[in-house]
């Protein structure tokens, strides 16, 4: 597969074109916004938390396929998970997205077994300037969870 095909896997384009959970939440939730001023990508998230668990979430934003697909995949990955699980997921995702080789938690023999669809974003590692696009949703999620923690 060429580097470009690896970057723009079908599942990424699918999430880009059909983002999951786009919108806002009505009930009690925390809200956070993030952007990359250099490129203009924007992302905002609503997260509803009950008993240490993310019961629902919704996203809004505009930007490149990588930033928006990463957000959409994140929605799929975090809803219904405990905060501890989400924290673990975030760490694994960040590690997957660092450029240093050898730290990737993903098991190449069992694709999807560690981070599910999110593993499709590995191709971004070959494009260092785009890593911040993939990170945006996750940084915004972290902001939201920090807020929730402070409020509790």
């Amino acid at each position: 597969m060429s580097q470009l095909d690896e970057l723009y896997r079908e599942v990424i384009l699918d999430h880009y074109r059909n983002p999951r959970k786009r919108g806002t939440l009505n009930g009690a939730h925390v809200h956070a916004e993030g952007n990359n001023p250099s490129c203009g990508d924007e992302f905002s998230i609503d997260v509803a938390i009950e008993d240490g668990k993310i019961t629902d979430a919704a996203m809004q934003g505009q930007g490149c396929s990588i930033s928006q697909a990463s957000g959409s995949m994140m929605m799929d990955a975090i809803i219904g998970k405990s905060l501890a699980e989400v924290s673990d997921l975030t760490t694994k995702f960040k590690t997957m997205m660092t450029i240093e080789e050898g730290e990737n938690p993903v098991d190449p023999d069992r694709p999807g077994s560690v981070l599910g669809d999110l593993e499709a974003l590995q191709g971004v590692r070959k494009f260092p300037v785009r890593i911040k696009c993939a990170d945006l949703a996750w940084a915004t999620l972290s902001d939201a969870l920090e807020q929730a923690e402070k409020a509790s």
Partner: protein, 408 residues
């Protein structure tokens, strides 16, 4: 098409390959590549004449001063100006800040208005926002017509005694549209407003003579016209420069310094506090020599032909929308576009894999992006060293982007 192809060998970087492909550099609106003549002039200065300017009586100091002031004369002549009214600045941004602070801060007051256009670069918006906040003045915008040129039809309702400054670009770095210089300066004169021309994209690409236009200040950057970064110029009418306050104090810009007060050196030195970028000035001078030798009218014609060709090629690509005038006589060679639902960053990444450098994003013109209703555009921009084959490469790259995004 005017063939400037042989000039390409003057630009060492153009023989680079990027990701296994020959570099196709289509980002000259952001910054231009440098010819050997500029690189050599700067190196020669450091190797043989390096010293501080305007101080010291030794030979090198005299040589450096001569080179620095010589560069000023070249840059001034390039725009038909007097060197005594040509101030070296860090670039266009710094020049506009000088004007906003040095001229605007003391003169504007509550109820006054600064008129700009929605197509301005942040460099011609943010300094005015700051001055407006300090003085209570208000920033007002002219909008655009359907062909992305400034809507001068609005002028009548906007121009009144409240307008004290009219500041606009001679050529948009996003749409490529030429600014209606004469119409706006006349309108400004009718209410005695100051006229500031952001010529960052104009001076590099078209012949400009300050005697042929009626503006008070004009600003441009060396790095957008084959010269080094870190230097640019602010030209001003003599009486404006006289009445304007310096915004930076320090060495070089003073006449006499007492314990509590100082007097200023004459213009242009009044605005050049501290040790200036001397090698950069020398490089800037070499750049205008290079452009002069080719001729700005030749360069403008070449870019017009190339832009016409590019607009034609781009119009053949399905779902591609150009944000800028379709008429090549109303515009320069910065071509912004959107392709189907493919975000500009994705376009830039895909093109880069084939060695094609374009810009993606808001191009430091976020109010314009909002106005156009797009989050970002991709932009290809041309200069004297670009050739039609590079336009072909761009078109092919864009078709490839469509394929990768599953659009046939």
């Amino acid at each position: 098409m005017t063939d400037l192809r042989s000039l390409r060998s003057d630009f060492p970087i153009l023989s680079r390959s990027i990701n296994g492909h020959p570099l196709v550099y289509l980002d000259s609106a952001a910054t231009t590549q440098k010819p050997v003549a500029v690189l050599d002039a700067m190196e020669a200065y450091y190797r043989t004449s390096n010293a501080n300017v305007h101080r010291g009586a030794h030979t090198l100091a005299a040589e450096a001063t001569e080179l620095y002031e010589g560069a000023r004369s070249k840059v001034a002549r390039f725009i038909g100006a007097d060197p005594a009214q040509t101030v070296f600045t860090r670039g266009t941004t710094t020049a506009i800040n000088h004007i906003a602070y040095g001229w605007g801060l003391d003169r504007l007051k509550q109820g006054d208005r600064i008129l700009v256009t929605i197509a301005e670069h942040h460099a011609n918006i943010v300094p005015w926002q700051i001055i407006a906040r300090h003085t209570g003045a208000e920033l007002v915008y002219l909008e655009l017509t359907d062909d992305y040129t400034v809507d001068i039809g609005e002028l009548e309702s906007v121009i009144d005694d409240r307008i004290k400054i009219v500041s606009f670009s001679g050529m948009s770095n996003v749409t490529g549209a030429l600014g209606p210089i004469d119409v706006l300066s006349q309108a400004a004169r009718s209410v005695d407003a100051l006229v500031v021309l952001d010529a960052a994209q104009l001076v590099p690409h078209q012949p400009v003579d300050v005697n042929q236009i009626d503006v008070d200040f004009l600003a441009f950057s060396s790095h957008k016209m084959l010269g080094p970064t870190g230097i640019g110029a602010m030209w001003g009418k003599p009486e404006r420069l006289e009445e304007m306050e310096p915004t930076e104090g320090g060495g070089e810009m003073i006449n006499i310094v007492e314990r509590h007060t100082s007097t200023w050196a004459p213009v242009p030195h009044k605005f050049e506090a501290g040790t200036p970028p001397i090698a950069e000035a020398v490089g800037f001078g070499a750049a205008v020599d290079y452009l002069d030798a080719i001729g700005m009218d030749v360069i403008a014609a070449h870019e017009r032909d190339l832009t016409t060709y590019a607009l034609e090629k781009l119009s053949e690509i399905p779902d591609l929308r150009v944000y800028g005038p379709k008429d090549a006589t109303k515009r320069g060679g910065a071509v912004s576009f959107e392709l189907a639902d493919i975000h500009a960053h994705d376009i830039a990444t895909i093109l880069d894999q084939d060695g094609i450098a374009v810009r993606a994003g808001h191009h430091c013109a976020r109010p314009l992006m909002k106005y156009l209703g797009v989050p970002a555009t991709a932009r290809a921009s041309f200069y004297l060293y670009n050739v039609p084959e590079e336009v072909d490469a761009l078109a092919e790259g864009l078709l490839k982007a469509r394929q990768i995004f599953g659009l046939s």
